[in-house]
């Protein structure tokens, strides 16, 4: 029998969600351990001593950290449909855009939702430029990966459930159907995907989480933009 698979994660974290999506797409059963990020468990600190962050994948005795490293591990360690494409150049392109999401895209869009006033204008502009690049990557496909979700779809998961929640809680609209029709369609495909349905986050729970943390995030964004 193959060793048990567990995720140390958090329901509000898109990074944690990436790991769930990957296991779901591979057909690997897993247990999700919800971490209290305000009071980190000994398990988390032991399994991710370097970063002390979620997600962490536990596969038997092995611990793997960093969401995209985990997703590539899942693709290689388990049988099932491939998450990354087969061709080295296509793999490089998928990795390029996931890297783009993590290094260029994530911070500005987060700041765009949580900031206000003059400071917000610059990050909104940057975010829309980034969104346009991702919109172009869809290029008429259902998913970034083609007919079925792949590596970049997993990496881009915040553009699915999280965007709707953030726009509701903050009142800021960024990913609108006029400017980004392909991304909006992608979000619909994502939420109606049977393959991903079992790990879809609970929308109400996400709304409650971000509402509860609204003032904290607004303060953080203000501080970051002042630097």
């Amino acid at each position: 029998m193959s060793p048990p698979v567990k995720i140390i994660g958090h329901y509000a974290s898109p990074y944690s969600h990436r790991v769930e999506m990957a296991l779901q797409l591979k057909g690997v059963p897993y247990e999700l351990i919800q971490e209290d990020l305000s009071n980190k468990s000994e398990l988390l600190l032991a399994k991710n001593p370097v970063h002390k962050k979620v997600p962490v994948l536990l596969h038997g005795d092995l611990a793997i950290c960093e969401s995209l490293v985990i997703v590539e591990y899942i693709d290689e360690a388990f049988d099932g449909p491939s998450i990354l494409p087969a061709d080295p150049y296509d793999r490089a392109m998928a990795r390029f855009w996931t890297n783009f999401i993590d290094t260029k895209f994530s911070q500005p869009i987060w700041l765009a939702y949580w900031s206000e006033g003059e400071a917000q204008k610059a990050v909104v502009k940057e975010t829309k430029e980034n969104l346009a690049l991702l919109e172009a990557q869809l290029n008429g496909k259902r998913f970034f990966g083609g007919d079925t979700p792949g590596y970049l779809d997993i990496a881009a998961c915040m553009l699915g459930p999280w965007i709707g929640v953030l726009e509701e809680v903050t009142g800021v609209t960024l990913v609108n159907g006029n400017e980004f029709p392909a991304l909006c369609q992608w979000a619909k495909e994502y939420s109606s995907s049977e393959a991903l349905e079992p790990c879809h986050p609970d929308r109400d729970r996400l709304v409650a989480y971000f509402t509860e943390n609204k003032e904290k995030y607004k303060m953080m964004a203000k501080t970051m933009l002042q630097q």
Binding site: V69, A77, Y89, A92, F96
Partner: protein
């Protein structure tokens, strides 16, 4: 060299990211055409090949461009799997560990080293120095625990993490003269200090390394440019 494969590397002589790609190509015994870019006057080919970031390195393989050093390394490893040694190990878990440390070097160690050298204020540079110590010591731990007494992060021979870290070696060597700091201090981080000598002496590595005195001059010029307002807005 694999038949019919056309490799062109767009680079800049002082870039540690470009050096990583040169190291990988050298370790695998692959031939390529090298194009030196003037980063203040970027070529059409560079801008066309990397429209999103407009940065080096870019590796163009049979006309298809790949950007971002870590992505290029993995692409080389996968596209030329039969040529020369593999950069990444075969086992999925060991591959994950290698990717983890490569990400750590780029996400945590490099920004700290940069800040310690190029931080705009004394406080920023001091904070960078402090962070650099922490990250370098963590990496020393990685070499000790994951390396398990072997000469390289990759085991008996140089691999992915060795190349990722190796790209920084030119600047690491220049750092003593430039900033009065030895990032891989033999007293604090003996394993890393020994590793840098060993890696630097490899037959495939030594000829590819940039000239340290030239890096020192370049570093001095960058520092002067930073100190003299207004900055020319030169991007790297």
């Amino acid at each position: 060299m694999a038949g019919g494969d056309d490799l062109k590397l767009l680079g800049m002589w002082a870039s540690p990211f470009v050096l990583r790609v040169k190291l990988a190509l050298s370790l695998k015994g692959l031939s390529y055409e090298y194009v030196e870019e003037d980063l203040r006057d970027k070529s059409e080919l560079l801008v066309k090949s990397n429209p999103v970031h407009k940065k080096v390195p870019v590796l163009i393989h049979n006309g298809k461009p790949v950007s971002e050093s870590l992505i290029i390394l993995q692409c080389i490893d996968e596209a030329f799997a039969g040529t020369g040694p593999s950069l990444l190990p075969a086992d999925p878990y060991e591959r994950a560990i290698a990717r983890f440390w490569a990400a750590y070097i780029d996400d945590k160690m490099l920004p700290a080293l940069n800040q310690s050298a190029m931080g705009k204020t004394e406080e920023e540079r001091a904070e960078g120095k402090q962070q650099s110590l922490v990250t370098v010591e963590t990496l020393e731990g990685a070499l000790r625990d994951c390396g398990k007494g072997k000469p390289f992060f990759g085991g008996d021979s140089a691999g992915y993490v060795d190349v990722v870290l190796g790209g920084l070696l030119g600047w690491v060597r220049a750092s003593d003269e430039l900033h009065g700091v030895k990032p891989f201090d033999p007293e604090r981080t003996p394993l890393l200090a020994a590793w840098s000598e060993r890696f630097g002496a490899l037959e495939a590595v030594e000829p590819v390394m940039p000239d340290v005195s030239r890096l020192v001059e370049f570093g001095k010029m960058l520092k002067a440019r930073l100190a003299a307002p207004p900055a020319a807005g030169a991007s790297n």
